[in-house]
């Protein structure tokens, strides 16, 4: 596994995923996108991510629960990016990750992740 400045973007909506990828590149990071938990978990096995952005509802009743737990196990910080604040609140309260409400600009989402990283390093 190689050292990286990569960010994992888990998002089933391609336009939003691409927008987030560009916003990562704007701040000098690479982005790896995944549209479901399976892809995302396998990406975590290949790249040492510095952080992740997780859409909560990944379509077809899939949530980001599985990848969130994998990231916790790897001690990789992440933010939740969702439009359904009620459900995210009920369901992901135990995970205690910052929530960025949709719609927000992609740069704001990435800025929140960078802030989380800087909080951890101090």
């Amino acid at each position: 596994m190689q050292e990286s400045n990569s960010i994992l973007v888990v998002e089933d909506e391609p336009f939003v995923a691409l927008d987030l990828k560009f916003a990562c590149e704007d701040v000098g990071c690479d982005a790896v996108t995944a549209s479901n938990c399976r892809e995302a978990i396998s990406a975590v096995g290949e790249t040492a991510f510095i952080g992740a952005v997780l859409d909560v509802n990944l379509g077809r009743d899939e949530t980001c629960d599985a990848i969130a737990r994998t990231l916790r196990d790897h001690d990789i910080p992440f933010v939740l990016h969702t439009g359904d604040l009620d459900r995210a609140g009920e369901y992901l309260r135990g995970i205690e990750a910052p929530i960025v409400a949709k719609p927000s600009t992609a740069s704001a989402v990435i800025a929140r992740l960078q802030k989380l990283n800087s909080e951890r390093s101090t």
Partner: protein, 355 residues
């Protein structure tokens, strides 16, 4: 003549007043069989008595309202256990609560789905409780039935409307997120990132302004305070730059786009030139209803920046953002007034609520 329309003086199962022990009604001279039965015949509340001392607790008395509610005639009711009103969709947990009340001789109120003779369903608010004789021994069970189908329908409709509003709200937020992605990606590919960023900021501000409208779409109006907070949320990531003051003021949803975009322009301006550029800069935002100079009801949103960079003179140009805000507001006969004070910008958004 329909004999259900006149009081029935007696029936085969309860031919005297022995149904109530002296402890309940004996001191009351009106507790004679005749008066009791006339009252029972007239009340619109369906009433029955059952005899728990007989096998399977049969109904021994019912009044006219009970016949009307259930569609059964008296001769089809007397002698049967109340469960003949239940059907396939009756909640067995509620039935269990009835059994428990009967077993423990308790008073209980349960709501259950019952079936009329013609098969139609109704929600029955059933109140039941024991009646004792003069020796304090259980004699009857009393049951009163009330059709609460209307209440149930209204509750179900409200739940449905809320669930729909939440679903629509979630989808529209995602649509705004996708639109944002499309605008950014298009702007990037055409070498117009500056423009696409400006467009996107305004689209997202618009989306946030409508959040409370979407969540409460079934109410028809929007809470101004919620919309103001939603629009300004991204400008206050540390949660301390803004102070919000204002009561519960509601407005038409179509006022929200102009107000939301104007607040967005004020906040953008503050983060470039005003109170959001300094460490201790602060912005007070307040809202209330008032009469404008023509006596019309209007909404006033006041914006006050303090501890920003010193202002020597008003900026020379209005800026595109404020031009857009002014155009939107004046289209609705509203206005944006701005005053550059030494310690920061003051602005007032006026929006007429009656035209």
């Amino acid at each position: 003549m329909n004999d259900r329309d006149k009081p029935v003086p007696s029936n085969q199962a309860l031919s005297s007043n022995k149904g109530f022990g002296p402890g309940e009604t004996g001191d009351f001279p009106g507790a004679s069989g005749l008066l009791f039965e006339q009252a029972m015949a007239q009340t619109r509340m369906a009433v029955c008595l059952t005899d728990p001392l007989h096998e399977d607790d049969p109904i021994v008395f019912c009044n006219e309202a009970f016949e009307r509610l259930t569609g059964y005639g008296r001769n089809e009711i007397i002698g049967r256990n109340c469960r003949f009103l239940q059907g396939s969709e009756t909640d067995q947990d509620e039935v269990g609560r009835i059994r428990e009340a009967l077993r423990e001789e308790k008073v209980a109120v349960v709501e259950l789905l019952n079936y009329r003779k013609d098969g139609t369903k109704f929600w029955n608010a059933l109140h039941l409780g024991p009646i004792y004789d003069e020796k304090n021994k259980l004699k009857y069970f009393f049951g009163s039935q009330w059709d609460v189908s209307d209440v149930h329908a209204a509750r179900a409709e409200e739940r449905h409307a809320k669930a729909m509003a939440r679903g629509v709200s979630h989808r529209l937020k995602n649509v705004f997120a996708v639109i944002g992605g499309i605008v950014n990606i298009t702007g990037r590919s055409m070498g117009a990132r500056e423009v696409s960023t400006r467009i996107n900021e305004r689209i997202q501000a618009l989306g946030r302004s409508y959040e409370p409208t979407l969540d409460e779409a079934f109410l028809g109006t929007t809470d101004v305070g919620q919309a103001v907070r939603a629009v300004l949320r991204p400008y206050d990531p540390e949660d301390g730059r803004f102070t919000f003051t204002g009561g519960s003021v509601r407005t038409e949803p179509n006022a929200i786009s102009a107000i939301g975009l104007t607040l967005h322009e004020l906040a953008t301006n503050a983060s470039k030139y005003g109170a959001l550029t300094t460490d201790d800069g602060h912005i007070d935002v307040s809202w209330r209803h008032k009469r404008d100079r023509f006596g019309r009801g209007s909404l006033l949103i006041a914006w006050k920046e303090t501890c920003g960079p010193p202002i020597d003179s008003p900026p020379s140009s209005g800026g595109t953002g404020f031009q857009i805000a002014n155009a939107l507001l004046s289209n609705s006969r509203g206005a944006l007034d701005r005053y550059w004070e030494a310690d920061g910008l003051r602005a007032e958004i006026h929006f007429p609520l009656e035209v």
